[in-house]
């Protein structure tokens, strides 16, 4: 999949757009989702005896790791300097 390129760097502001990428918006998902109690504040279903409150919040860790990894991979320096 082609990572969305920021507009071609111009000589006046060579690094201006370095941090800008639509991929960054994905970071909001692991910020918002773990802060909505409706998702996790319940007992069933249980997984290995863990109420949902516990296993789901632990699973959100994977959501966070997955998202930051994806964003990092998609936005890191493309094709060197």
């Amino acid at each position: 999949m082609a990572a969305p390129e920021p507009e071609a760097p111009t000589t006046t502001a060579p690094t201006r757009a370095k941090d800008h990428s639509p991929w960054n918006w994905l970071l909001f998902i692991p910020i918002v989702v773990p802060l909505v109690p409706v998702f996790f504040n319940g007992d069933s279903p249980r997984v290995f005896g863990f109420p949902r409150f516990y296993w789901l919040q632990l699973a959100f860790i994977l959501l966070g790791v997955g998202t930051t990894t994806l964003v990092y991979q998609m936005t890191k320096k493309r094709g060197g300097h």
Partner: protein
């Protein structure tokens, strides 16, 4: 009686001595040409790669106190204590982009502290001084709390005395050793020790979460035991799930603590010590491994319930020290030698953050008070020296807090610490993105946020205390007709921001001088090998000057 715990004490002491030796040897690890520079002593030469940063920042953020206090909270209150998990999930995506900007601008300008950045960005030594003082005040009790972590372990091993001095002697010795090797090796000491600390903690917790449920009849039984305990208790707000009253508190506390965590000077010190932007970004994906660990550690509180642990008595008559539940659980369930390893993990776990925190506080004093107000032309060598001495003073202060004051006082101060460090958010974190705020607006906002935060904390009562009873502020105090509570820090920082914005608009209309921005947009993207990095040139200039002087 300590004789019953002899094996534990021997294992604990052996591991403790091992890391002490490592602490001293660390001065030669990745040895710099010239240790007499704050970049070397205070930031490890800004050279740490992915693995070292992972161990260092992980060892720094997830402290011994966290490992002892979070399960203690679960033991006492149930689900509300689990906020530590969402807190340490949302932090990483939240700061993913922010911290690399801070790293870049600091790298290019040679900033050592967040206050250095603020001074340059907003052209305001006063604002920088406020940020520095806030950082120092918030960090001090945090260091003292690491001692509480060690004390919980020592108490369980029966290492106590008849009077205050005898009781605290082991801690005084431990901190004297810590102070000595931090003085000598700087940030390299905790970086090296963090390898041992975290390895021990990972081993102990992996064993605990596999072995203990097996012994205690499985996770279902553990949760059932916890549920039964909270059902029987008179407190309406405990339980293995949240209720309508504490959900808002849960999410605001998790979010507010996440915002606060990377404003703490010691977190920033760990981040600035890394080699380049990629190291930080990769670590934002790797550090949540510790969050998983923390989640499992939190559940030790429930295991303690299932195992029928009774916490040891507290410092005052009739109170219990709930921080002892995890050490007691280990003592009760593990063979002696392994309990010793677990205690060492907690004890050493206290040393790493304590060292980094004292270094961070010392750097703030040196850069933003000493160099700014006492000796403007201080050389890098003098800066390093002042920082080393300040780190000693800070540690003596932390020990004094624990020996002479009620430990509850440090716990209160740490609670306050989280709220006050949040008040640096507009200047430090938002400052990385925008210079829209007027420097005076930021100062006024800070003052109002601090005042409001203090007042709210003072108002919070708990079953045992009238004031400073926690950080869950009842919204009914604001006149809302509800029993819901909210985290004090979030309210205080929101008001802080609103006031800062309002004052900014007024001052802008009145055309009040705004000072000059010492940074350029380009600075926020600089990476390793950037040709315009200043610390290197500064140092070259100094080494060239010295022979002449």
């Amino acid at each position: 009686m300590w004789r019953d715990h002899l094996t534990e004490i021997i294992v604990f002491s052996f591991l403790f001595l091992l890391v002490s030796v490592m602490g001293f040897v660390a001065a030669r690890w990745r040895a710099p040409k010239d240790m007499a520079h704050l970049d070397e002593w205070g930031l490890g030469g800004r050279s740490f790669g992915g693995w070292i940063t992972w161990f260092l920042v992980g060892g720094d953020l997830y402290t011994a106190y966290t490992f002892v206090a979070v399960p203690a909270l679960m033991f006492g209150a149930g689900a509300a204590g689990f906020f530590a998990v969402p807190y340490t999930i949302v932090i990483y995506p939240l700061v993913f982009l922010v911290l690399v900007r801070l790293w870049s601008v600091s790298h290019r300008h040679g900033f050592v502290t967040p206050a250095d950045f603020v001074r340059n960005r907003f052209d305001s030594p006063v604002l920088a001084l406020l940020i520095a003082i806030t950082g120092i005040v918030a960090t001090m009790p945090y260091i003292a709390l690491q001692l509480v972590g060690i004390e919980a372990v020592l108490k369980t091993m029966g290492v106590t005395g008849d009077n205050a001095l005898a009781r605290h002697l082991p801690i005084i010795i431990a901190f004297a050793i810590l102070a000595a090797y931090t003085y000598q090796s700087g940030l390299r000491a905790p970086a090296l020790i963090a390898f041992v600390k975290d390895s021990l903690i990972y081993i102990v917790i992996l064993v605990a979460v596999i072995y203990l449920p097996y012994k205690l009849g499985g996770w279902g039984d553990i949760f059932a035991a916890a549920d039964a305990k909270f059902d029987a208790s008179p407190n309406p707000n405990d339980g293995i799930l949240l209720n309508g009253n504490n959900q808002l508190q849960y999410v605001t506390l998790a979010f507010g603590s996440a915002l606060a965590l990377f404003l703490y000077p010691h977190s920033i010190t760990g981040v600035l010590a890394s080699r380049n932007r990629d190291v930080i970004k990769r670590n934002m994906s790797a550090l949540p491994a510790y969050s998983l660990l923390l989640g499992l550690i939190a559940l030790l509180g429930y295991m303690a319930i299932a195992a029928g642990v009774k916490p040891l008595p507290g410092a005052k008559e009739g109170t219990v020290d709930s921080n002892t539940v995890v050490p007691l659980l280990f003592d009760q369930q593990f063979p002696d030698w392994f309990a010793g390893v677990a205690y060492a993990a907690i004890g050493i776990g206290a040393l790493v953050p304590a060292a980094i925190m004292s270094i961070a506080a010392a750097n703030l004093f040196t850069r933003n008070i000493y160099k700014e107000y006492l000796k403007r032309d201080a050389s890098p060598a003098q800066e390093a020296n002042v920082s080393k001495i300040t780190s000693l003073v800070v540690k003596v202060g932390a020990v004094a807090c624990i020996v002479f004051l009620d430990p509850q006082f440090s716990i209160d101060l740490q609670l306050i610490g989280g709220v006050i460090i949040l008040q640096t958010l507009p200047a430090v974190a938002l400052g990385l993105y925008t210079r829209w705020f007027h420097r005076t607006g930021l100062i006024v906002g800070w003052a109002v946020g601090m005042g409001l935060g203090m007042w709210m904390l003072y108002q919070v009562a708990s079953p045992t205390r009238k004031h400073f009873g926690g950080s869950a502020f009842p919204l009914s105090e604001f006149g809302f007709d509800t029993t819901k509570t909210i985290y004090v820090g979030i309210v205080a920082v929101a008001v802080n921001l609103a006031v800062a914005a309002l004052v900014t608009l007024v001052l802008r209309a009145a055309k009040v001088e705004e000072g000059i921005d010492g940074t350029e947009p380009d600075d926020y993207f600089a990476d390793e090998g950037d040709p315009r990095v200043t610390p290197g040139t500064e140092r070259d200039a100094d080494s060239a000057r010295e022979p002449v002087a």
